[in-house]
């Protein structure tokens, strides 16, 4: 006990004492600390620069059940900032090593590593966690996890989010000396998709500039990466045809074979050092031709992988903010940040919290329109119903359900492929689930002007309620 009070002394100041800016349901006491250790399960997505920091911070903040998922292996270039890794770890999965190192240093914490892609795990896996902490560097991965977390969200009949279905996320991101930390409470604060415009689109140079009038080192690198790479592979195959038709010597074939070995005819892989080296040397040639200075190997990596040098201190600051928010969300010991913190340490220091608002009709986190249907309603009938529904008035709708195209108005080739669904019950087309989300798009007329729109609908089938009816349905 004495050891424990010593160890948690700082945390206890937050968890054991009442306060004025705490969340309404905050109940300070040792039970809260114990519950946090017993019931909170955190998933850390990414075990890179931010992920290493997050694991350490969460473990030291009293979280005991942590999982970490990352598909990458440790590279030499990670070692300067991904401080859980050592030279002898190079080549090993980041998740495994990060979990092991933190468990060695923080007693009592249990970290389960997952060395795989985030898409490899099913929804059941994600549903196990009370909170998800994101330490990622890609928009795609954020968007994916956001979609997963929001898919657990349910709304009541008054379109209020059901508290117990909210899967909170804290999201960190850094670029050099800049970073952000945000809190996403789906249904309450904007989700990633509500504010995707916050991410600046990637700079893309016109291909013809790359091909004809390069002016910068980056132009030369992108030329080698986007144009030159494909050129060599296909030109060699052309030689093959030529040589073949003129029944020429076999060494032509051999040359072609070796050329193919260099690129193996496959697409460029930014994580393959040989590929990167090739792009670098081609970019150097290109730069010499046009008298452009500044092509280096690290710039090549930066341009091709769209990397901005990572700064260890930025990661530490952003991660600390995220871990603190995780603790606040879980314990209620203080109000959570609302809802987006930006940090800029480029010149002096600037930090600011902005309260972004939700996109009311967000397809991912919004409530959608609730519709109660009989299980006998066919897709055709459903389409008529949403045409007449006063909140929708949707004409010419196309319908999709979890990636399945149920009906498409156009183009004719898809209309034909989906037409036979029209006479089937929607309940059957939705795999006989009692309630689920469906998406429709079509034209809606508001104040006599036609507008195209894409909507989320919450379908509930009447008379089907939970498990017993599910069993009945499968038994029938």
């Amino acid at each position: 006990m004495g050891e424990s009070t010593g160890r948690w002394r700082d945390l206890d100041k937050l968890l054991l004492r009442p306060g004025n800016i705490v969340s309404p349901n905050f109940e300070p006491g040792t039970e809260l600390r114990d519950d946090l250790q017993t019931y909170a399960r955190v998933l850390v997505v990414g075990a890179g620069g931010l992920g290493c920091e997050l694991l350490k911070d969460l473990a030291l903040s009293g979280f005991r059940n942590i999982d970490v998922i990352d598909m990458d292996r440790i590279e030499v270039s990670n070692l300067n900032r991904q401080f859980l890794f050592r030279l002898q770890d190079v080549g090993k999965p980041k998740a495994d090593v990060a979990a092991m190192r933190v468990m060695e240093r923080v007693s009592g914490v249990n970290i389960i590593p997952h060395f795989c892609r985030i898409e490899d795990k099913d929804l059941d896996f994600y549903s196990n966690f009370t909170i998800i902490a994101l330490g990622l560097d890609s928009i795609e991965a954020r968007s994916y996890i956001n979609g997963v977390a929001c898919s657990f969200l349910e709304y009541d009949s008054d379109d209020n989010p059901c508290e117990e279905t909210i899967k909170p996320m804290v999201d960190g991101g850094t670029e050099g000396f800049k970073g952000h930390a945000r809190v996403i409470l789906p249904g309450k604060t904007p989700c990633f998709e509500c504010t995707i415009w916050l991410f600046p689109p990637q700079v893309k140079f016109p291909l013809c500039t790359l091909a004809e009038t390069p002016r910068t080192a980056a132009h030369c690198i992108e030329y080698a990466h986007l144009i030159k790479w494909d050129e060599v592979t296909t030109k060699s195959s052309f030689q093959f045809c030529f040589c073949h038709s003129s029944s020429a010597c076999s060494h032509m074939l051999l040359i072609m074979y070796i050329l193919f070995q260099v690129h193996s005819g496959k697409s460029f892989d930014a994580d393959d050092p040989e590929h990167m080296q090739w792009v670098y040397s081609e970019a150097v040639k290109r730069a010499e031709l046009f008298g452009i200075p500044g092509v280096t190997y690290s710039l090549t990596q930066g341009v091709v992988k769209n990397i901005i040098p990572a700064i260890a201190s930025t990661n530490a600051i952003i991660s600390a903010a995220c871990a603190l928010e995780a603790l606040k969300i879980m314990s209620g010991c203080s109000k959570t940040m609302s809802n987006y913190l930006t940090y800029n340490g480029l010149a002096g220091l600037h930090t600011k919290v902005t309260e972004f608002v939700r996109e009311k009709d967000c397809l991912v986190c919004g409530p959608g329109v609730l519709l109660e249907l009989d299980t006998s309603v066919t897709l055709q009938k459903f389409i008529e119903l949403i045409g007449e529904h006063p909140l929708l008035l949707l004409s010419k709708p196309s319908v999709t359900y979890r990636g399945k195209t149920l009906y498409m108005q156009a183009p004719p080739v898809l209309e034909e492929m989906t037409r036979s669904n029209l006479k089937l019950p929607l309940y059957d087309l939705m795999d006989k689930v009692a309630k689920d989300v469906i998406h429709v798009n079509g034209m809606t007329s508001k104040n006599d002007t036609k507008q195209s729109c894409l909507l989320k609908l919450r379908i509930v089938f009447k008379g089907i309620d939970g498990m017993t009816d599910m069993d009945m349905a499968s038994g029938a």
């Binding site: 349901n25 019931y39 909170a40 099913d122 929804l123 549903s127 009370t130 928009i139 795609e140 968007s143 994916y144 979609g147 898919s151 508290e163 117990e164 909170p168 415009w197 991410f199 689109p201 990637q202 893309k204 140079f205 016109p206 291909l207 013809c208 091909a211 004809e212 144009i227 494909d230 050129e231 296909t234 045809c241 030529f242 969300i329 879980m330 314990s331 209620g332 397809l363 991912v364 196309s398 999709t400 979890r402 990636g403 399945k404 195209t405 498409m408 156009a410 183009p411 080739v413 898809l414 795999d431 689930v433 009692a434 689920d436 798009n441 195209s452 894409l454 939970g466 498990m467 599910m470």
Partner: protein, 184 residues
């Protein structure tokens, strides 16, 4: 929040989650928006679209353009579209599958069309791109060259350019490069 999870955890021990069956496939926001784009396509009559992977896999598709005027009349050009899950935040990747003698399309199928790269905006859609591609065949331009030789010929000798295009489309050599027949 933790109290909620404590309660939930207890409940879970009593009865496994009622909503038992795990959903098979989640739909990305990009997929939803693409679906909308596709269902609202208003293609020029010279254009067709095909979905080689069936009706449930719309993120990769092919657009075939058969220009009815200009240098490329009578030709048939297939473009592959690959759409990202964060579409329309990011433009689709478009390549020309048909080897074509064209100033703005190189021999590897890279296409120089501003809206595919530097001028892409999320308000644009698949229809805009198809019209843009169509435009490349009615109005090839020598100012944004990807195929340098073709651009030079178009600028300096349009008659020669016309006959080069014919030769390429009917199958044959233009300079050192062999083109397979692509007339329909």
């Amino acid at each position: 929040m933790i109290k909620l999870f404590k309660v939930k955890e207890k409940q879970r021990e009593i009865a496994e989650n009622a909503n038992g069956r795990a959903p098979v496939k989640k739909q990305s926001a990009g997929e939803l928006r693409l679906n909308k784009d596709i269902s609202e396509l208003n293609l020029p009559k010279t254009t067709t679209i095909a979905f080689p992977n069936g009706k449930d896999e719309l993120m990769n598709f092919e657009v075939t353009i058969r220009p009815d005027e200009g240098y490329y009349r009578g030709g048939m050009f297939v473009f592959t579209f690959a759409v990202s899950p964060i579409y329309p935040h990011e433009a689709p990747k478009v390549k020309c599958k048909t080897k074509v003698y064209h100033p703005n399309i190189d021999l590897e199928g890279n296409v120089c069309l501003n809206i595919l790269r530097e001028d892409w905006k999320p308000v644009l859609n698949i229809n805009t791109i198809v019209y843009g591609l169509h435009h490349l065949f009615t109005e090839p331009n020598h100012e944004d060259p990807l195929n340098h030789e073709a651009a030079t010929v178009l600028r300096e000798n349009p008659k020669q350019f016309e006959s080069n295009v014919r030769r390429a489309m009917t199958g044959g050599y233009v300079g050192q490069t062999y083109f397979t027949k692509c007339t329909c």
